[in-house]
Symmetry: C2
Subunit: 178 residues, 2 copies
DNA sequence: AGTCAGATCGACTATATAGTCAATATGAGA
DNA sequence: TCTCATATTGACTATATAGTCGATCTGACT
């Protein structure tokens, strides 16, 4: 929660041990310092992502469907859990292992989609920036108070238009495969 | 420069006075504290934006052209001046006056474009998130080392597709009006 | 009950940082 | 040259923070 509120550089060990109602020595018994705690939190966060994406990874062969599923999931989750959303944003803008991992997955799907000639954006890195940019900014918007149950699907539509994928017949079907 | 490197919460007065080669008392003679310095820097940054956008504001009646011009300018500037880019990113993700001002301008153009029936995205707030999201993330990409002189125009194309504006004949012409 | 490895505690030192203030320097105009 | 408002200096106090360490606690196992 504290790492969701402020960046790592501004979080003190004292604040952590007070919030955890634990003595200072206990903190240093478990972690070398704040960086190690942040890494541990990042790892947990990464696991939550893997769990959310597991069904997509198994059941969906279409890279665009996988990507759409993930995009949608993340926005839904952000609306349901503000703390999670804040933490994601803090973690995504720092060059953490977590951020690299997300981007790697995304680029995997995009590369595959590109190989199938499904994208108007040919530069995979640019495509990844577009997807992540919309995702993160819409998430910030949600934290700012933007609402609407159809927000994720409208954001998704804009994202797919940006990539230039043909408006899919199969998307709905693929989503229901899960 | 220091505010470009680390967030406000992690920047110390001692670091500032050392970098400025000035005594501590001098700092407090000019500013109440770090927040006030940050506000002053934000104001300067805002002025640089106004200057960059002045031609667009005067010469362009088409809101989509204005928006495209600004988007392009900001990316070009980011490629030319890394420190500026870093500072923009730090400032844009905090809820500064600067960030609000940019968004307000953007929403103005988007509202006008929407009134002309030019956008597929009907929610102006969502549209603003899409534009800012792509802009900021592509800027981060530039800082990460992404290159290519046509990057701004390709990012712009993706952004316009996301909004769902018709691929314009007039855009080139409007840009040259300046 | 006794043992002990693992966990917790909080006082302690050292350093970093914020903010103050009286003394001094600067330079434009009389 | 003299005056004075403005600007600068750096030492100083008070507080915050990082990191250490010996004492103590806990609970599983004998």
């Amino acid at each position: 929660m504290l790492l969701a509120e402020r960046p790592l550089e501004a979080l003190t060990v004292d604040a952590v041990v007070e919030a955890a109602a634990v003595a200072k020595g206990t903190f240093y018994y478990h972690f070398q310092g704040m960086e190690e705690l942040a890494a541990a939190v990042g790892e947990k966060l990464g696991e939550s992502f893997d769990e959310m994406l597991a069904p997509a990874r198994l059941g969906m062969r279409d890279p665009v469907a996988r990507l759409s599923f993930a995009f949608n999931q993340f926005l839904e989750k952000a609306m349901a859990d503000r703390v999670w959303a804040r933490l994601v944003i803090q973690s995504a803008q720092a060059p953490t292992e977590f951020a690299r991992s997300i981007r790697a997955n995304l680029k995997g799907d995009l590369t595959e989609a590109r190989a199938q000639g499904r994208l108007k954006v040919n530069d995979v890195d640019l495509a990844a920036d577009v997807v992540m940019g919309i995702w993160l900014q819409v998430t910030r918007g949600i934290l700012q108070g933007r609402t609407g149950t159809d927000l994720p699907e409208r954001a998704l539509a804009a994202m797919l238009r940006a990539l230039g994928v043909a408006p899919p017949q199969k998307r709905k079907k693929d989503l229901e495969e899960v």
